[in-house]
Structure formats: C-alpha cells, structure tokens
Symmetry: C2
Subunit: 225 residues, 2 copies
Amino acid sequence: MGPVIICVAITGSLPRKRDNPAVPITVAEQIESTHEAFEVGASIAHCHVRNDDGTPTSDPARFAALKEGIERHCPGMIVQLSTGGRSGAGRERGGMIGLRPDMCSLSVGSNNFPARVYENPPDLVDWLAAEMAAHGVLPEVECFDLSHLWQAAAMHRDGRLPRVPYCQFVLGVRNALPADPHAFEAMLAAKRHLLGEAPWCAAGIGRHQLEVNEWAIGAGGHART
Amino acid sequence: MGPVIICVAITGSLPRKRDNPAVPITVAEQIESTHEAFEVGASIAHCHVRNDDGTPTSDPARFAALKEGIERHCPGMIVQLSTGGRSGAGRERGGMIGLRPDMCSLSVGSNNFPARVYENPPDLVDWLAAEMAAHGVLPEVECFDLSHLWQAAAMHRDGRLPRVPYCQFVLGVRNALPADPHAFEAMLAAKRHLLGEAPWCAAGIGRHQLEVNEWAIGAGGHART
Ligand SMILES: [Zn+2]
Ligand SMILES: [Zn+2]
Ligand SMILES: [Zn+2]
Ligand SMILES: [Zn+2]
C-alpha cells in the first residue's frame, strides 16, 4: 500500500461560525487552518470561499486570494477549488477555473440532497469539463451515485475528460447514497471495472467521516475530510 | 422460476405518430393496443396519456377514461398509471392517484436525462408516496440509479411506503445508469440486500429493451417493455 493522500475540506459551503466557532470563514483563517493541516500531512486542500456574511460564493477574486495564500504558506500542496452548486448557479460555478488551480471538483450527474435537487444539467457538466480541459485542471469527480462513475468513465473515453478523473465517492448525504458498506462496495467494484487502478477517494458526510475514511484506506483509496 | 410478469408500456410519454405511425395515442387506440398485449399474456399495463395534439399530460380525466377502458376490455389486468415528470410538474403529476388504480409509478430520486435534469425533489416524492398510501395504490419505484433502491428501502422501513415496493431498474437512459451487465448486477445485489425476494423488474431503453429483459428474467425478475 502506497502513501495515503489526505484531502482536507477546511470550510465547506454550509457551516457558519454560529454552528461551530472553530470553522475558518475568512480567507486568512482558511489559509492558517490549511497550513496546520499541511504541516500534519494533508496534501490536497479542497476549497470553498465565503462572502463576508458567511454565505457561500463562487467569487473568483476570493478563490484567487485563497489559492495564492495556500501556495505561499503550503508549498507543494495541491489546490482544489470547488465548482459545487451550493456556491453559485450555472456557469458562475466555474468562474474560478481560469485561475488554473491543480484541481477542481466536478459533478457529472444530478441527485437529491436532504431538502432539494442537486442540479447538474448535462450542458453545464460539459461546459465545466471543457473549461477544466482548456485550463489544464484535473477534475475530482464527486460521485454521489453509481451512474456518476459511469458518466465519468464515458466522459474520459470520449475525450471530455482528457485525463483519467480522480473520483470521490460521497456517501451519507441524506436522500443520496448512504454510508453503507454495501453501497461502498458497489461503488468500488464499478470504479475498478471502469477506471482500473486510478487513484480515488471516499468521503463520509458528518458522523460517517472516519468510518468511510477507514473503508477507503483499507481498500487502497485515499481520504477526504 | 415462477411465471414472468410482463408489463407493457403501450405509449410512453415521448413518441409521436410522426416517429412511428403505429404508436397508440388516443385513449381508444391505447385500449385496443393494451387489449392485444393482454391477450398474448401481458398482465400489467403501464399507462401514459396524451393531449389531442400528442403532447404528454397528467390529466386525471384522460387517465380515468383509459383506466375504465382497460378494466372493461382486459378483466384482471393490473393498471399502473405514470406519475412521471415528463407529463406534468409538481403535484399535478399525482392528480390521477385518487382514481385508485392498482399501481402508480413513483420516482424517489433525481438524475440526469439526455438533455436535462429529471427533478424529483424530496418533498414531492414524499407527497406522491403519501397520496399512494392514502389511496391504497402500490408504487412501482423507478430506479434510475443505485441510491434510488436505498431510498425505496428507507421509505418502506419508515412507513412512507407501507407495502414492499415493486422496483424497476431503468437502464440505458443517456446520462443515467447504462444498460451494462455490471450496472445491472450492482442493482440486483443491492435490491436483494435491501428488499430480499420481493418481485422486481427491469427495463432497457430503446435498443436495450430485449437484452435487459433477458437479464431480468434470467435472474428471477420480471419484464417491462
Ligand atoms: Zn466541497
Ligand atoms: Zn501559515
Ligand atoms: Zn412511463
Ligand atoms: Zn378490446
């Protein structure tokens, strides 16, 4: 077993200071928190940015400041910027791809979230993938369901994803795929069938985090906090 | 192996006379076509209705006429009315549940279709399930992805689906789960894990129809045209 890649999601798009005073919100707080994680071994920083009031945004200027700070404080750390739908709508979700970070997250299908539909229409998916390809950005494909793995593989086969995508299994979101060992095994079998030994990771949401990290590391995958 | 249940989808929501002159559009045409399928062994009729111009609708009056005609011409045939999202929006999708057909289709999650998001928001799913429960209608859960099986099982466990749901695996819709034997096996393993030996069926879209029917019948499931 090679070294485990730890990807830290320092902030995410949802928690506020009122939920947890320790959550880093400003760019300065995020950089310091990422630096601490880097010093104890994290090698990928999965980044969201916030407005001054704590609400999520896709603002490229804020992403640029965060990326620049992480690159300065954490030399060699891989910067991954989120194009997730909680932070913007339509093409504004991909406004930061032109910053040419190492990686961006990419959703390739739609699914339910706890109280709404997580909408990733096919034309937006294709546009985000094309932007990443044009700027040399490696996608981390967020797989909330089994078909998302097939979609990632199909997009690689037909050239929409020129490099083998790094897939993340996202388990434990209510109304999407649960943090269940059978669901994990189904995802892993499909990933191996479709993408062979390409590196991959898995994330468990909330209380499922450590459990899913253990399953992934035990199966040769990597960890996402 | 017990007898195979054949469910015929006579009309669907999309094809028009200009695509195939044989497709039954009017209620009278649908009743005659269902009668022919019934006489050669089909036991469930999966029904969509159309406006006079051929566009899909959820109009309860048209569903009532079709249901009444099938019950008269095909005694004992199980009538299943579609609550699918191609024929209406929001709660208008469930306006026919009060007709108390034997079954209605029910989507429990969201996914991508060839050119758009198939939106089944959690509150609408719960409302449709509650209407079916209140009217004694058995849902056929349309499973376009793996998480939909988990969602069906969770809804049965917590009482939103009082009866064990009849699940259909829908394979071969572009941008959703493909008609691939590995995807089929993953769905089947999850179904057995979650719902045991409850009856189930599988449908392959378009050119995948016969292939997927063969896989399903070979594995003890039922067939949907
Ligand atoms: Zn994220
Ligand atoms: Zn520092
Ligand atoms: Zn249908
Ligand atoms: Zn007749």
